[in-house]
Each structure stands twice: as structure tokens, then as C-alpha cells.
Subunit: 315 residues, 2 copies
């Protein structure tokens, strides 16, 4: 059973109450706690030694990644992060310098986005370190962007470039907090998700949740230099396009807007973010499924993204 | 380095912002998110297989414990829990029935206190399962009880009975949510903490934070039947009073009120909670330190409570 099947199994039984606007299934939980005009966003995420980071990774990068992953989820709803708690699992004879450096990376990223680290908890974890982050944020009720809301005819956009993140970027990525806020407050973004499990996997979630399909233009998919380089130097590496479609941990924003907004969006983006790419990679269509269009024609793609617990989703 | 030394080391560097009323160092973080009249409480806590629960523990009890620990911290501030997120660390070939049962226990406790489980995250943890809970709650600004605020002359009270929790109660305890709310809304409770690391350890935190001392009446300390029984049947067991002072995971509430409120408090408590004991176990004094009074006289006690990472605190 993979994580998506597990979530689908558990979700119907979960207790809810009057505070819950959106529970399991979006980038963050959305709560109405009585703050005038805004919802509270609530997110947790954990990184585990040997799974999300190697034992010899720079601890400051591990701290950056642990917090950055949660920030990326707040970004994917157009929200502003507010305060985090950090739960650390450490072995009994842990290395204090390692923990200090972990916090250097985490604190630096938190300060950049005015996020408070308001405490947390330490616990013993004899075999592997883990860092579990809980993050609260806020979002204007009018500009809270969900995974649902994509409409037939929408343009599909992605920020930055995709693929090859494991070569280093997964420890150093910039969560698209400002970009997510700007998008949500300047355009009627119909649906948004952060690309954490790979473009093909995350887009497929979005399509399934909206009961629509997508046609992607293979030439329009932005591919990182790392993924291109990898394909050249490693004979066993994925072709760059496949890497962009299926590598995990890009932490870019994937979203849809009405086609009439596409040009003003690209113009506004360029004026605001200059250097950072924004690519229109295809469109939402009625027929379910994910198709790739290139010079050879149109082909159905059944690639899953990265999943935990081995078995790929939707494959 | 134990966890308290680690927290003391990290705390001065933690980023803060305008939302933070109380950061690291209390039972929960206290945030002002703009909800009229109330603060948001924010807490995380993790339980790890082999540390907080044995591999053969009933998974529904593990779920109960994981959520109950966080509820106990909300209770210790007089708050009301609202919504939780659950981060699960599981091995690749995890047992689905185990996870189902975990949620049975967690969902049941959540429903009892009208707590939503609004999602979470699953991640791979090859060697040991862990469950990390993040919990949001609310508390009236006027009745938010901190760890600070104890005054010389206050009576020291504790709910329920202490000691011997590892014999079973640590998996089945009732978080004192209703009791905490009732206390905070009916009396000027000066300071409160939940007893998770043992009475001696947690009271010592409270004393140190308030720069005061305490005299406890050894006859007044409520001891569980389990701790008494253990001392009879196991020759190597702690004497019952020592168990009550130093065993961890009681999850009772420890608090102080002005001595003039002691009698109305005990009367009101009995009318409200009948069966559940509330004991006045001593008083706050000016001279720092923790002293135990019995027929033999007064003696200084330097017992620490349970700490993670081996070395006991304050010993």
C-alpha cells in the first residue's frame, strides 16, 4: 500500500469539527479559527536521516530543507507562514554541533520569511535522526488557492525548472513563498500545488481531484541544467524530460489560470520576478488522463511520481 | 547534554515575530493570530517505537497516547484543543491493520474532545515507527495559565494520583482537558504544568522559572495503586513515594493558587469532578529548592525527573 492509498483509506474516518474548511488532501489543512478575513493554514512534514537526507549532508542544509518543505506547502495555497514548532528525534549521544548547525539553517530560512520558531520538542530516536516540522500560516479568505478549481481550457503553469533535484537542489531550494502570495493576490489562480513528488505525479493528483485531463507540450517543460547534465555524464541517468516529469523534490509551484489571464500573468511575472522562469506548459482538457504533445504527435503518459513506501502511485 | 540544556542553548537564537506571546519553554507556544479575545495554542510531540511504546503495545493505545500527550499540554494552559495533524513514520512494508488500529485509538480520543484530525503526512522510517502530532488549540486571553506566575504562599495542587504509569496508565491516561478548562475559568490559577517527567522534575521546572521554592507534605502526595502494588511485588521497585515523585508520564495537572482560594477550590472541584482526586500537596516558599516534610522533619530533595538522552535533569 502506498501513501496515497493509505490516506484514501484513513480519510473517511477522520474526526472533523466546525473549524475545518479543508482537511486531509490539500497542501495544507485550512482552518477557520475566527480571524476576520483570513483562514489559518496548518501543515506538518518530517525529514528522516537516510531517506530525505544523507548522514553526511550539511546539517544547516538539512534544517533548511526541513522547514523549506513546509514553507513550500504554505506557498502553494497563496499563504503567509507565521510560526513553526520543531520536533527533533536524536540518538542518546547526539552531536550538539550538528544540532547547532541544523538550527543555523532553519533559523536563517525562518528569518527570511519572518517565521517564528516558537518551540518544539526533543525525543530519543536511537537509529536515525528525524526532524518533524509543524507550521502555521495565514491566508486571505478571498485568495486561498486549493488543489481543486482547475477548469477545462485553463493554462497550466510551473515556476522555475524541474528535474535532477537530488544532485543538490533538494537541500538548497528556495520555497516559492513570495511567488505564491503574489500569484494568489494578483490573479484568479484556479488550482495550485507544489511539485514535491515530480511533475507527472503532482499534476495527476490535481487532474484527478478536478476530474479533468491535461495536454502538456514537451518542448515547454522547463528542465534544470542539473537534469540535462546528468543525462550527458551518466549513461544510466533518465533522459532530461523524464527527469523533469518524475524526479521528486523540485518544490516549484504548479498552477492553472484561465487562458485569458495567461499573457497578463507572464508579463506581470516578468516585471515582478525577472530572473525566475514561469512556463506555460500545457492546458487543462476535458478528457481525463495526462498526454504529452511533441513533434511525433500526442501520447498518453502513465508515469507516476515519487511515492514513499516503494510502489509508485498511479502506475 | 540533556534536553533541557539543549533547549536552553537553542532558545536565545530562535527567530520570533509579532505573533509570539510565549515561545519555547511553556507547555504550548502561545500565539496571537488576531482572534478576538483568545490566543492560539500550538504544540507538537512525538512518540517513538521502543522509547515511548513497546512494539507489542496495542496500536489503538499508541494512538491514544500520541494524541493524549498533546491534549495534556493544551489542558495545562487551560485551553481547548481544536485540530491536529498526524505525521506517521512507517517502515516500507508496514502493517496496514496496525495503522488502522492506531487511528481507531486516536480518532476516539479526538472525538471525545471535539478535536478534528485535519490531515498530516506519512514518511518512511525504516527502523522504528514514530507518530508526531501537531495540535492547535484556543484559550481565552484572560484565562491562559502559564508556567510562570507562582507566588510565595500559594498552595500547590495536583490532580489524580502519581507514579507507576509504565505499568499501563501511560497508554491509557485521560488528558485533563476539562479539568484544566474548569480550573482556568473558575479560579485565578497562578501557574500550571502537566506532570510528564515526574512530579519532582516538573515541579522543579516551575520553581526555577518562578525563582521560588516549595515545601511538600509527603503524606499529602497522592500515590497510585499501581506504584504501591509494584513496591510490594517487586523487590527492586522504587518505594511508592519515590515512584510518585520521579516516575514519568502521569499526565496529571500540577498548579498553584493563592492560599485563600484553596478551600473554595477543593469544594468546587468535588462538586464538579467527584471521583477524581485533587490534592493540596504543599506550598510555595521564598527559599529556592524543593523540600519534603514528614514526621522525621524537613529534607532537601534533589531528585530529577525523567529526561530524554540519559542524564537526569538537575541532578
Amino acid at each position: 500500500m502506498n501513501e496515497f492509498e493509505l490516506i484514501a483509506r484513513l480519510k473517511p474516518q477522520l474526526p472533523t469539527n466546525e473549524s475545518v474548511v479543508e482537511g486531509a488532501g490539500d497542501d495544507c489543512a485550512v482552518l477557520d479559527l475566527g480571524v476576520a478575513g483570513s483562514y489559518v493554514l496548518f501543515k506538518t512534514d518530517a525529514v528522516v536521516e537516510g531517506i530525505h537526507f544523507e548522514s553526511n549532508a550539511a546539517p544547516s542544509s538539512v534544517g533548511h530543507k526541513a522547514l523549506g518543505r513546509c514553507l513550500s506547502d504554505i506557498a502553494a495555497m497563496g499563504g503567509t507562514p507565521t510560526a513553526a514548532l520543531v520536533t527533533l528525534g536524536l540518538p542518546a549521544g547526539f552531536d550538539v554541533a550538528w544540532v547547532d548547525e541544523l538550527y543555523v539553517g532553519m533559523n536563517k530560512l525562518a528569518r527570511k520569511y519572518n517565521v517564528a520558531i516558537a518551540g518544539g520538542e526533543t525525543t530519543q530516536s536511537p537509529d536515525r535522526k528525524f526532524i518533524s516540522i509543524a507550521l502555521i500560516g495565514a491566508v486571505d479568505k478571498k485568495s486561498c488557492v486549493r488543489r481543486t478549481g482547475a477548469r477545462v481550457g485553463d493554462g497550466i503553469f510551473v515556476t522555475g525548472e524541474l528535474g535532477g533535484s537530488l544532485r543538490g537542489r533538494h537541500l538548497e531550494f528556495e520555497p516559492r513563498v513570495r511567488e505564491g502570495q503574489w500569484l494568489a493576490s494578483h490573479f484568479p489562480v484556479h488550482a495550485m500545488i507544489d511539485v514535491s513528488d515530480g511533475l507527472a505525479g503532482d499534476l495527476r493528483h490535481l487532474l484527478q481531484m478536478n476530474n479533468v485531463g491535461a495536454e502538456l507540450l514537451s518542448d515547454a517543460i522547463p528542465i534544470t541544467r542539473a537534469a540535462k547534465l546528468q543525462a550527458v555524464v551518466e549513461s544510466s541517468a533518465k533522459p532530461p524530460l523524464l527527469a523533469a516529469l518524475t524526479d521528486g523534490e523540485d518544490f516549484e509551484l504548479l498552477f492553472t489560470v484561465a487562458s485569458k489571464d495567461a499573457v497578463p500573468l507572464l508579463d506581470g511575472w516578468k516585471a515582478e520576478f525577472g530572473e525566475l522562469r514561469l512556463s506555460c506548459i500545457g492546458k487543462i482538457v476535458e478528457r481525463p488522463g495526462l498526454r504529452l504533445c511533441d513533434k511525433q504527435g500526442v501520447r498518453e503518459i502513465n508515469l507516476g511520481g515519487y511515492t514513499h513506501f516503494g510502489k509508485p502511485a498511479n502506475s
